[in-house]
């Protein structure tokens, strides 16, 4: 098979926000092109334009040297373009087999689905990842009962079940463990030999250098560089990805002032915390300490934070400020001085159609009496937004008018008025641009300096290494290791994330 795809000067706008303003991509049979860019650079948008999910506003797509316009994702699929999505396109209530073959079910005559064929071919596909499953995968298992890595594998199998010509892997390795990634890359090599073209969207350097033949870098919606992988190194790639070198953490540590934490009071004590996912977590956190939580996604980090915040039922002992507590609702946690910055800001942290002011004050309205003293509210809102260096038109504008980074500031900012004693953060810099990240780290440093206890989950190992003195790595619902001081290195973090048994001084 042969295929070639070109994207020339692609433009895409979402309302007032420009996602792409001149993106290019070229990919041919038998090669892997890495589409690289920081969070928010437009990588996902470009891949969604190529597979027909999103309509482009400007520029041109060429398939096999002919201009093409996709009227729907179906149209792109029919032409042999397939995608492994970042946010899964699986229907949770349907089975593995049903999901893999959706819209591509082998049929008997009269339009009936050929169940035997479906089952047999699903088994064949599942065998491609033989040996990398933790729990054996059956074609009739419902998808919502699967762990994230197996869901991702199903997503991959779904993308290849109809023998596509072009495969887009959009952050497809995010949930996979190293064995599974290895197997996936073996499959990629096979696909190259078959003449398929592969677009590998990622920001994981190690994987990019392992599998890609060529690269194309996006920055703020524009393609700023392209070429052969063998002609470039990591430092140069990173420099293409970000605007200023100083904003990156590559190899640097923004070490926050190290104080002897035992001098400070114990703010949080957790003993054998258990939920459906957590199998017994114990930890201690002092005022003025920034404790990091690491590990692969889905190992229970989110559950831990939600349980501490009162949004998830649990068993076990939790003491806040030396007082035994068992929160049944976030309201109770908030009263005790705890704050949570949730993981999905658009779904959990913001009130999109309400004003910036309302978003900032939502936990605090009681302070303003009856009828609400809006004058005072505005004043307080202004002072918070200047502390956050918020770039906005006015406090009364809708939050949806803000950029991603500024919106994330609001999710944190809403707690500032309440002076929390314990701050829980669920991957707060995910999808945030580099400049805002720097501002956020500064704010965090100020809070820690002032004595706030911070529990900080991050999916970014570099971030954990740069900010924390102590990191608890979670694996499979338990704390696998506590890394501090000399033990806190990248390779130890990665090893602990994978559940490796010895963690040595690197």
């Amino acid at each position: 098979m042969t295929v070639s795809l070109s994207a020339r000067n692609i433009v895409k706008r979402y309302g007032g926000v420009v996602a792409l303003s001149g993106a290019n991509l070229d990919v041919h049979s038998g090669e892997v092109v890495a589409l690289i860019g920081a969070n928010g650079s437009g990588k996902s948008t470009l891949s969604k334009i190529i597979n027909g999910v999103v309509v482009l506003d400007g520029g041109q797509l060429l398939l096999d040297d002919k201009p093409i316009h996709f009227s729907s994702p179906q149209a792109a699929k029919k032409l042999g373009i397939s995608t492994v999505f970042q946010e899964l396109s699986l229907v949770p209530q349907m089975t593995v087999a049903e999901n893999i073959w959706l819209t591509r079910e082998p049929l008997r005559k009269a339009g009936f689905v050929d169940q035997k064929s479906v089952h047999a071919r699903t088994v064949e596909l599942l065998a491609l990842f033989e040996g990398t499953y933790k729990i054996e995968l059956h074609p009739d298992a419902t998808v919502d009962s699967l762990p994230p890595d197996e869901k991702q594998i199903i997503e991959v199998l779904k993308a290849i079940c109809f023998d596509p010509r072009l495969i887009i892997l959009d952050e497809a390795t995010a949930s996979l463990d190293s064995r599974q990634v290895q197997r996936l890359f073996e499959l990629v090599e096979q696909w190259k030999l078959q003449g398929k073209a592969i677009v590998f969207v990622s920001h994981r350097m190690e994987e990019i250098f392992r599998i890609a033949d060529r690269f194309s870098v996006l920055r703020n919606g524009k393609t700023v560089g392209a070429g052969m992988m063998k002609d470039i190194n990591e430092r140069e790639l990173v420099r293409l990805m970000v605007e200023t070198v100083t904003a990156t953490n590559v190899g640097q540590r923004h070490r926050l002032a190290t104080k002897r934490s035992d001098e400070f009071p114990l703010r949080l004590q957790v003993e054998e915390l258990k939920t459906e996912v957590l199998k017994g977590i114990s930890l201690q956190l002092h005022d003025g300490e920034l404790l990091g939580i690491g590990g692969l996604k889905g190992q229970g980090q989110r559950d831990l934070l939600l349980a501490l915040f009162g949004d998830l039922p649990y068993l076990g002992k939790v003491k806040v400020s030396d007082e035994l507590v068992h929160f049944k609702h976030p309201q109770q946690a908030i009263e005790k001085g705890i704050a949570l910055v949730p993981g999905e800001r658009s779904k959990e942290g913001l009130l999109f159609i309400r004003s910036i002011l309302e978003n900032l004050l939502i936990p605090s309205w009681k302070q303003y009496g009856f009828p609400l003293k809006m004058h005072k509210a505005h004043k307080d809102g202004s002072s918070i937004s200047s502390t956050l260096q918020l770039k906005m038109e006015s406090l009364d504008k809708e939050v949806s008018s803000l950029s991603g980074g500024n919106a994330q500031k609001i999710v944190i900012g809403k707690w500032l008025l309440r002076n929390p004693k314990l701050l829980l953060l669920d991957d707060p810099t995910k999808g945030v641009d580099v400049g805002t990240k720097a501002e956020f780290y500064k704010l965090l440093a100020e809070l820690v300096e002032a004595g706030t206890a911070v529990l900080f989950y991050s999916s970014d190992d570099e971030e954990l290494l740069g900010l924390c003195d102590r990191v608890l790595v979670m694996h499979d619902g338990k704390i696998h290791s506590e890394l501090a001081g000399e033990l806190l290195t990248k390779s130890n973090l990665v090893a602990a994330s994978l559940g490796a048994s010895n963690v040595s001084i690197e």
Binding site: S72, Q93, E105
Partner: protein, 322 residues
């Protein structure tokens, strides 16, 4: 592992609750009415239950697809008005057939109107079908301003008395619906339906024609409502533009107690049919239990609310058990 298996069993068999309720209702009904299983009584019950069974089947398809149709009662009223006003007691067989076919087409047109606004203009199902329910009710009233009219005696007796092979006509119709449904589930369309109801975004990205699928569910609902309208006209033998009013809530209740959740993607028609029969049995129980006539409306309504509340209560108790 045990918990996972129980969850997947109860998840894939939401009919369990409906089945239990059905057996319970059957038992209580039998207590009040010992000749329940006699052929003529069975037949009489079946034909009274049939309109709701038809409606609930159509409603189940819409709800599975992630929507809801609260205009079904009004569609029933339109069909009833058309049949009663156009036929009258002396109509010929050909004319009856013609008018019935027209009525079914009207039902599908009504469904298409719903489908157009919801699937293609992307309006909310509740408010849209609420608006059309008013529109359709007005049309029904316009066609038949006063209760009256009729259908040929020979046709309504056919409905009332036919027992092919000694079994009620209604049973055959249920069988037909179940076969048609089972066959649909074996097609790609059947899977599209569950995908669209389960997670529309995922279905869209996978290339399922979501809008078309949702549109089709409303057309099906309109058709089933029209069939229900035909059934009820044959049952009562006359026309009344308010006849469909109570059926809308009953159809939704039947679907919900039959195990199809309102959010879509789970359940099926079998449960809805069971739910419709259960509601019918409850109505029987109330009238046989000698409940005072003035209280009957209240009791019936209270039972519907309790039936709707039951899954919620069960869930609440399950959740406490962590």
């Amino acid at each position: 592992m045990n918990r996972q298996r129980w969850q997947s069993v109860s998840f894939r068999n939401p009919y369990l609750f409906a089945l239990l309720l059905f057996l319970l209702a059957l038992l209580v009904n039998f207590i009040f009415q010992p000749n329940l299983f006699q052929r003529s009584i069975l037949n009489s019950n079946m034909r009274v239950f049939l309109p709701l069974i038809l409606l609930a089947s159509g409603q189940a398809v819409v709800i599975l697809g992630g929507g809801i149709d609260i205009s079904v009662g009004a569609i029933v009223s339109i069909i009833n008005a058309i049949l009663a006003s156009q036929l009258g007691a002396g109509a010929s067989a050909e004319k009856t057939l013609l008018v019935v076919v027209i009525a079914l087409l009207v039902g599908m047109v009504a469904g298409s109107i719903n489908g157009f606004f919801i699937a293609f203009l992307r309006l909310q199902p509740i408010i849209t079908t609420y608006a059309t329910s008013f529109l359709f009710a007005g049309i029904a009233l316009y066609i038949l301003p006063e209760p009256g009219g009729g259908v040929p005696l020979v046709i309504s007796s056919f409905y009332r008395d036919t027992t092919p092979l000694g079994l009620p006509l209604g049973l055959y119709i249920i069988l037909l619906i179940l076969i048609a449904w089972y066959m649909t589930r074996q097609t790609r369309y059947g899977r599209y339906l569950y995908a669209v109801g389960g997670k529309p975004d995922a279905a869209y990205e996978t290339g399922v024609p979501v809008n078309t699928v949702q549109f089709s569910t409303y057309v099906i609902s309109g058709l089933m409502a029209a069939l229900g309208g035909v059934a009820i006209t044959l049952l009562t033998g006359s026309g009344n533009a308010q006849v469909g009013d109570a059926l809308t809530l009953a159809s939704i209740t039947a679907v919900v107690i039959g195990g199809t959740a309102l959010r879509g993607g789970v359940g099926g028609i079998a449960g809805a049919i069971l739910g419709a029969i259960i509601l019918g049995l409850f109505k029987n129980i109330i009238s046989f239990a000698n409940v005072d006539l003035w209280w009957q409306t209240f009791v019936n309504a209270a039972i519907i609310v309790l039936a709707l509340a039951a899954p919620g209560v069960i869930n609440l108790l399950r959740r406490k058990r962590i």
